[in-house]
Amino acid sequence: MPNMLWLQGGACSGNTMSFLNAEEPSACDLVTDFGINVLWHPSLGLELGENLQKMLNGLVSGEIPLDIFVFEGSVVNAPNGTGQWNRFAGRAMKDWVSDLCKVAGYVVAVGDCATWGGIPATAPNPSDSQGLQFLKRSHGGYLGTGYTSKAGLPVINVPGCPAHPDWITQIVVAVATGRGGELTLDEFQRPKTFFTSFTQTGCTRNMHFAYKVSATEFGQRKGCLFYDLGCRGPMTHSPCNRILWNRQSSKTRAGMPCMGCTEPEFPFFDLAPGTVFKTQTVMGVPKDMPTGVDKSGYIKLTAAAKAASPRWAEEDIFVV
């Protein structure tokens, strides 16, 4: 019966809320079907008062085994490296994190704040936030480049703002059923099984991308969101259009540009004036190309696409 502890640092609870939308398995199934012993969770924990204090201390001393430590939210270091801007149970949260990571079997960072700092770490990063093992793209973060948990793995990063509930539950189930050793991680320590394909993989607007038919404004019934509205689907690694959200849809399907929230740079360009929901271009060519495509390739591709574009592609396709 693996023990799981879930704590929140500089967090909005968005990943917890996302996790509670899980269905296969649901949060309750994790307990009843997979025997996960949820030691405590900020929204769900039953233990109160002295019991919680005792439990935390028991975990730190090794008396109670901590099989899975899930962390949501950024590690807050302000002010001056003390972490006092985020206190929990009388201590800086970052001190609890250090102690618990030393004894944990697996450490799972859930959501962008815990993986790379996320929104709180957006310039000027007032709370001096870091992710557990990254700050944006730079490796290290709060725990340092050399950190590995007792199972020999670095922090398992499940990014996204929020992470999809299935990405979280499937990792937890893999660990709980003894398959943690089969997890393979990419250069940003994301499970490859989820983060090798692109957000665009499976998008309903792929034909419009291929024929370079653009959605020039919101609320249209056709068109790809990449060319004008700043969509990052072709260069963002996530399964958002393979494993749908809330069992129904995805942002790009609904007409919202992908913001690249599973990548370390989110929010891109630090939300500088002129960058929100607008494709950044140089001489009419997007600054950020679909992954692996170079500028001359892009120009040839889109010229051919335009030339080949069938008439139906210019007409509404997602009709009433």
Binding site: S26, L46, I119, P267
Partner: protein
């Protein structure tokens, strides 16, 4: 904190969502003083400074993952009032529907996941309802806990049809919404709503039809409904109310008896040219302030807001309107109960002082006769407030759950009113100016102020329901609403003060709550004040 105080640090309590410490002094088994300490600062207002005018659409839903749709609603309306956009009728409905489905989601999730767990506490083992409470409401394994928490994910499937995902979409933008739903989106949304009604609201929560429940207009009607059938008395609502009275939750958690709501759900035909001034007369659910002592209602306006910061960790002028604030955090956030002790400001109405935000406030306000005659009114909760002698833990939570049926009807209204072939978005012209957007998150009054200058954000300010409720003392010494509501709370076991948890959780503040209880007689005052 000093060692002396840590030995008195009794109870970190979860399930309030976030980071909040509540410190209480207990004398003869009763809370005699309280301090609410918000312990986490991320600096969203600081992050938004100098950013793209639309950055709030991305950043503010991430202020709170539980009320993200509400933040997005405020961010979009704030930009609309600043840009002077036109917002098409369909977009008003699509924003409202997103807001409503987030709130419907929160009802069973908060009720089972956060609130009812406490009814299984050993403190209540002598209650005649205890055994049944444990069977239904035990975390993870309780029959109704599991069903309620799992089904809470369904309403936001409708949000996903509009915005792609919940939480954290940004589908509401100045000038409308990003989506253009099709007929299948609407029919699917109807099916999801129906599922929620047939599998939770009617069989488990009410034990009757929506129509029967809607006949209840007074406390007497409610009591008659409870007695009418065993299905009513044994429903989760019936059990909640009977057990709450049995364990005395109608006896404490009173608070200031002054309430605020911004109102919400702008009428689809009345707010397509949104301005700050015209908002009050455009809302389906009206705004207002209710003062219990004088039993009076009045409209609420953003210009009445003041933020006191003398007891909070900010270094700026106190008592300002949010448009004048600069959000300058104090680096060294030492805990000083005589001085500064929170990251939350003390929000007040310039005339009425501290006000309680939340579902109870909304229900008390919509019992009033102020506002437009076409706006929604419902006398039930106001009648209960008068007959039961004011607010309490039980009434506050009742008000929250009572809203569910109305929200359900409002969701139906949106789905009926969509004209699918009409526009969903009218591209606005970005311009400089001041804007304000407001709504009611399930847990209370939420609003955003924005000032755009030279094409970027000069100032962005947020006042959340939790800011209203968990704020520290005001400059004049008036306690924050939760602080006030804690006073008089009876504590059966000082080593496990579940009663303090009840009060905090009845406000549904978006902060994980830690309780530190102190003996008022033996807890040495000097030591207590030197806790940093």
């Amino acid at each position: 904190m000093s060692a002396a105080v840590q030995t008195l640090d009794i109870s970190p309590v979860g399930r309030v969502e976030g980071d909040l410490d509540i410190r209480v002094d207990i004398e003869n088994g009763v809370v005699v003083n309280a301090w609410a300490q918000a312990e986490m600062f991320r600096g969203f207002e600081v992050i938004l400074r100098d950013k793209d005018p639309q950055a709030g659409l991305v950043v503010t839903p991430r202020a709170c993952g539980i009320c993200g749709a509400s933040h997005l609603t405020c961010a979009a309306w704030a930009l609309d009032t600043a840009f002077k956009s036109e917002v098409p009728r369909n977009a008003i409905l699509a924003r409202n529907l997103g807001q409503i489905t987030e709130s419907l989601q929160s009802l069973p999730r908060h009720h089972y996941g956060l609130f009812m767990i406490d009814y299984t506490h050993k403190n209540y083992s002598k209650s005649r309802y205890y055994e049944e409470a444990v069977r239904r409401w035990s975390p993870f394994t309780g029959t109704n806990y599991e069903h309620g928490v799992t089904i809470s994910g369904r309403p936001v499937e409708i949000y996903a049809l509009l915005g792609g995902q919940w939480p954290h979409s940004s589908y509401m933008v100045p000038g409308g919404v990003m989506c253009a739903p099709t007929l299948t989106d609407v029919t699917r949304a109807w099916a999801i709503l129906e599922h929620f009604r047939r599998n939770w609201i009617e069989p488990m929560w009410l034990g009757c039809s929506l129509e029967r429940y809607e006949e209840i207009r007074s406390y007497d009607d409610f009591l008659a409904w409870l007695d009418e059938k065993p299905e009513h008395a044994n429903s989760d609502l019936g059990m909640f109310w009977r057990m709450s009275l049995d364990i005395g939750l109608d006896k404490y958690g009173k608070g200031h008896g002054k309430f605020v709501t911004w109102g919400y759900l702008p009428h689809e035909d009345k707010y397509s040219k949104p301005t700050i001034e015209s908002r009050n007369r455009s809302l389906r659910m009206k705004s207002g302030v209710y003062v219990g002592e004088t039993d009076t209602h009045a409209l609420m306006e953003e210009r009445f807001i003041r933020e006191d910061i003398d007891r909070a960790w900010y270094d700026e002028k106190s008592g300002q309107h949010p448009f004048d604030r600069v959000t300058k955090p104090i680096q060294q956030n030492d805990m000083d109960h005589d001085g500064r002790y929170s990251w939350s400001t003390a929000v007040r109405h310039e005339d009425n002082g501290r006000l309680e935000a939340g579902a109870l406030a909304r229900q008390l306000v919509n019992g009033g006769s102020h506002g437009e005659d076409w706006q929604h009114t419902d006398p039930l909760v106001l009648d209960m407030y008068r007959k039961l002698g004011g607010a309490s833990v039980a009434l506050r939570h009742f008000a929250r759950m009572h809203e569910g049926v109305k929200l359900y009807r409002e969701a139906e209204h949106c789905l009926r009113e969509f004209r699918l072939n009409d526009p969903w978005y009218v591209k606005p012209t970005e311009r400089d100016g001041q804007g304000w957007g407001a709504t009611e998150a399930i847990r209370g009054a939420l609003c955003h102020w924005i000032e755009v200058e030279n094409g970027k954000i000069k100032n962005y300010q947020i006042i959340a329901p939790t800011t209203w409720n968990v704020g520290p003392r005001s400059d004049s010494g008036e306690l924050g609403p939760i602080e006030e509501a804690l006073i008089g709370t009876p504590i059966a076991d000082t080593s496990d003060p579940v009663e303090v948890g009840h009060v905090a959780r009845s406000y549904d503040s978006c902060l994980v709550c830690t309780v530190h209880a102190h003996d008022a007689k033996t807890g040495e005052e000097l030591a207590r004040f030197r806790t940093a």
